[in-house]
């Protein structure tokens, strides 16, 4: 496993890892824009394209990818912080939530519970079906 730290990373390594993340996002955004020249209706998030590019890079990089992995794990460790600015944005829609609050909250709650149960159920049922078929 390349994620077990052999040597402590130097500050410059950490920065290099973060730079690769930024460059992958930039490359992903550029690729999506290029595709939109051919297919104007094409909607695909640039960061997800960047994620696929990084995934393709990690295997050939091997141990040299350690700084990228450290930077990525650092960001994912505080992922919930990154949603706070959007969540605070709810303050602008107090009136809308008060007007439609009850039904909308109920729809959100009911639908979220159902989605969790159905998704986990289908995932486990398909896995069990495969296991049975393989004997």
């Amino acid at each position: 496993m390349i994620d077990s730290p052999a040597k402590p990373l130097r500050p410059a390594d950490w920065l290099a890892g973060f730079t690769v993340l930024i460059l992958c996002q930039l490359a992903g955004e550029t690729l999506v824009q290029l595709l939109r020249l051919v297919l104007p209706g094409f909607v695909f998030p640039g960061p997800v394209a960047g994620m696929l590019m990084l995934l393709a890079l990690l295997t050939p990089l091997g141990d040299r990818g350690r700084p990228i992995i450290a930077a990525a794990d650092g960001l994912l460790g505080i992922l919930s912080l990154l949603f706070v600015p959007s969540a605070v944005g709810i303050m602008q829609y107090g009136d809308m939530i008060l007007a439609w609050g009850g039904p909308l909250l109920l729809a959100v709650l009911g639908s979220t519970v159902l989605t969790l149960v159905v998704t986990v159920g289908v995932f486990l049922a398909t896995e069990a079906w495969i296991r049975r078929r393989q004997g």
Binding site: F83, Q92, G102, T115, T119, F123
Partner: protein, 237 residues
């Protein structure tokens, strides 16, 4: 006294104040969550927003002014999405083995997320623009806002519903899965990624790396699949 209020006028206008408030409130929310034994009810996105919003209302600070400071945190969502490649890479063998469950659960979960939200809201007599705004509530905000606009909804309402869905799923997933007796962390993570996009994924990473990896895949696939479904619906309409 007027000297002090001059300083406050300066501070309230400075991005530094609201960046600092966001970071400090988040760290405080982590402490509170730790005091509560990391109960899923002590969701850090919810707790931090619940501290920051009253502060902004009390100081008559507008959201755009707040965002001037908070944007530095918001901006990191892009590189964080790229970072999802790392847990995906670490769990690649498990993901390869689960291709069929992933596809089946994606289709079932994505349709349930949209269909059930539409059905419940419609049962309460919600008008067409509200229905169009709630349909994409389980995908990340930028995609949901674009889809809501295409369907004739209100993008800002869609963004609010996305956040509420994210926080709801992040809070209920652990007690719900424990009550159902589901021990498979790949399946648990995948479900919360489908239902509650990035906020659910953030919760999954707090529980375990495999759950986080599957949540990240689910979030990305659901964004793409929902966009395809909406594009198909608009073409056929």
């Amino acid at each position: 006294m007027s000297g002090l209020s001059t300083i406050w006028v300066y501070l309230a206008a400075s991005p530094l104040t609201w960046l600092g408030a966001t970071l400090a409130a988040y760290i405080l929310s982590l402490r509170i969550a730790a005091w509560l034994g990391n109960s899923p009810l002590a969701n850090s996105v919810f707790l931090t927003a619940a501290m920051v919003i009253p502060l902004l209302l009390l100081t008559h600070t507008s959201y755009p002014r707040y965002f001037e400071g908070a944007q530095f945190v918001h901006f990191l969502l892009g590189p964080a999405t790229v970072s999802l490649a790392v847990p995906l890479y670490r769990n690649l063998a498990a993901v390869r083995r689960s291709i069929l469950p992933i596809i089946a659960a994606l289709v079932a979960g994505s349709l349930t997320a949209m269909g059930s939200a539409l059905a419940i809201a419609a049962a309460f007599g919600a008008p067409a623009d509200v229905l169009a705004s709630i349909a994409p509530k389980s995908v990340s905000a930028p995609i949901a806002m674009e889809l809501a606009k295409g369907l004739g909804g209100v993008p800002s309402l869609a963004a609010v519903l996305v956040i509420l869905t994210g926080i709801t799923g992040a809070i209920i997933v652990t007690p719900l899965m424990n009550a159902l007796g589901v021990r498979n962390y790949a399946a648990r993570g995948f479900a919360v990624g489908i239902a509650s996009h990035g906020i659910g994924t953030a919760r999954a990473f707090q529980v375990n790396d495999t759950a986080g990896a599957f949540a990240g895949i689910a979030m990305a696939l659901n964004g793409a699949f929902t966009a395809l479904l909406v594009a198909g619906f608009l073409l056929l309409r």
